[in-house]
Amino acid sequence: MTITIRGKQINLQSGMDIAIGPYLYFRYHPMPDFQTFAEAAARDKLLIKRCKRCGNACSPARIACPKCISCELNWEESKGEGTVYTFTIVRQALSDAWNNKIPYVVALIQLTEGVYMLSHVVDADIDRIHVGMPVKVTFREFDGMKLPAYCPK
């Protein structure tokens, strides 16, 4: 169960530390569920989770339902619709990898299922992006993986 990021093969069950400087590192923690999420995104599907016990929808990263703490969560394909809860137009990059991409728009999307996802707003007139703007999911490449992004509905 591995995934390749930044040219390195990371085992999703054990995680890995990747050095980014003399004293600092990115810690890729164990996250087997990311494999399911990324594989679905590669097939243009946005997955969230839903609690079997109480029916609450939650983030695909969750291990337990935030409402009732049941650990029985089922994968569910999201309708892929929501609004921009907040956003920022990034005009200064901190890494060389992102220098070529500025300006880019990072946003917190509130899906209709009540789940909040961090992502990008793409294919939009940057000056017209606003809190409350309706969006729908699309899929783009990030860090070499096909992942969800959101475009104006």
Binding site: A61, T86, T88, V90, Q92, S95, L108
Partner: protein
């Protein structure tokens, strides 16, 4: 019940820009040890007296695990109670509360609370690492997040919910700079005062944040600070210059930004209802209640000002104005000391003194302690009866408030 607790001594140590330019080096461990040594001498204590040691998170400049043990060993301490407090920057403040609880139980007598850091890691890298430690590397980091980006998302939502104007936010930066130009160690001490226009003209980092809306990250080159806590009864035998720890409060709600919003309540509190909130509200409410004081009693204040909008949210959370009202509060000179406003972040805060990696919170704590003792390094305020320090860290994840006093309020 909390016993009467006091700060019986404090110590600090710095590596100034001038020293760093001349090639001088100070490791975080050196700064931590120097600070504690100064605090012990200030308190008329020896290492024999110390039986507890707390630190905030291990510094960027020395990331060994068991940071508290590294310091204790260097000081030749034997502790009964010791840990690294893992609550982001808040750990550096709320460790005072944890020390108070341990002392109050009777288990330990004297607890050192200390931390330090330096500029060993380039600011850009430490910001990137910061983002990673505060973003989900799988679900968030692929989108090019870094610390300011995460905070920008919070600031934009706060701006939206309460109709804050960039000019209002800029006033926070303007006021912090006024203090910094009088502080010998502040990063911006030689840069002169700034105007609202200066802030709004500075380049955009990520909306709504201009450069001057953001803290000076990774400055000064080195800093350390330590306080020693004990009971008031013991403090009286050592010095007449002790400071009362009157109240504290904390609230920790999440780690990654997506988990900050939820419809769930906790003990009847709506703590996850919006991104545009800090736990300063709940933390300060608990602290005021414990101390038997209110915002108007505070003669000095220090709030987390990683960004101007965040400073506003924390001023609101700590009750210096109503929620959503910080814009008008700043416009009316609420924190303009020359105009009769509250002295806030009298060393210049993160916005103009600097925010040095993992010791940042400690520099603000030390500034308040120094002002309460009447011996600040920079411009002095009228010696306060009571002071409030608020901290938060992560993406608004962990929050803490501590209230200090030069006297005890009458019940």
């Amino acid at each position: 019940m909390l016993k009467d607790i006091a700060i019986v001594g404090y110590g600090d140590s710095y590596l100034t820009r001038e020293e760093a330019k001349s090639g001088k080096v100070k490791t975080p461990l050196q700064l931590a040890v120097e600070s504690t040594s100064n605090a012990l001498h200030d308190a008329n204590l020896t290492t024999d007296d110390i039986d507890g040691l707390l630190t905030g998170r291990a510094p960027f400049g020395d990331r060994r695990w068991q940071w508290n043990q590294i310091i204790a060993q260097e000081l030749k301490l034997a502790t009964k109670f010791s840990t690294e407090v893992t609550l982001h920057a808040t750990g550096n403040l709320i460790m005072l509360a944890y020390a108070a609880m341990a002392i109050s139980s009777g288990y330990v007598n004297y607890v050192v609370c200390v931390n330090a850091d330096n500029q060993a890691v380039p600011s850009r890298q430490s910001q990137e690492a910061n983002a990673v430690s505060e973003s989900d590397v799988w679900f968030e980091m692929p989108y090019g997040t870094y610390a300011a980006v995460m905070y920008a998302l919070v600031c934009e939502r706060y701006k939206y919910e309460h109709n804050i104007s960039p000019a209002q936010a800029a006033l926070a930066a303007v006021n912090m700079r006024k203090w910094a130009i009088n502080h010998p160690i502040a990063a911006m001490k030689d840069k002169g005062p700034i105007t609202v226009e200066d802030v709004l003209k500075s380049r955009v980092i990520c909306t709504p944040l201009h450069l001057l809306d953001c803290s000076v990250y990774g400055q000064p080159p080195g800093a350390g600070g330590a306080v020693i806590l004990t009971t008031v009864e013991r403090a009286k035998k050592l010095t007449d210059r002790y400071i009362h720890l009157l109240g504290f409060g904390g609230l920790n709600t999440h780690e990654y930004i997506c988990a900050k919003i939820d419809s769930k309540t906790h003990q009847g509190r709506n703590i996850w209802s919006t991104l545009a909130s800090t736990g300063a509200k709940e933390a300060s409410e608990d602290a005021y209640a414990m101390a038997g004081l209110s915002p108007k009693d505070m003669g000095i204040v220090s709030i987390s000002d990683q960004f101007t909008y965040i400073a506003m949210m924390n001023l609101e959370g700590c009750g210096f104005c109503k929620l959503g009202e910080a814009g008008r509060f700043l416009e009316k000179g609420g924190i303009d000391y020359d105009a009769g406003g509250i002295p806030v972040n009298t060393n210049g805060g993160y916005l103009s003194f600097g925010q040095l990696n993992q010791v940042a919170e400690v520099t603000r704590l030390i500034e308040v302690v120094r002002q309460m003792r009447g011996e600040p390094l920079g411009k002095k305020v009228d010696t306060p009866r009571y002071g409030l320090i608020q901290a938060h860290g992560g993406v608004e994840s962990c929050n803490g408030v501590v209230i200090l006093g030069n006297e005890v309020p009458k019940k």
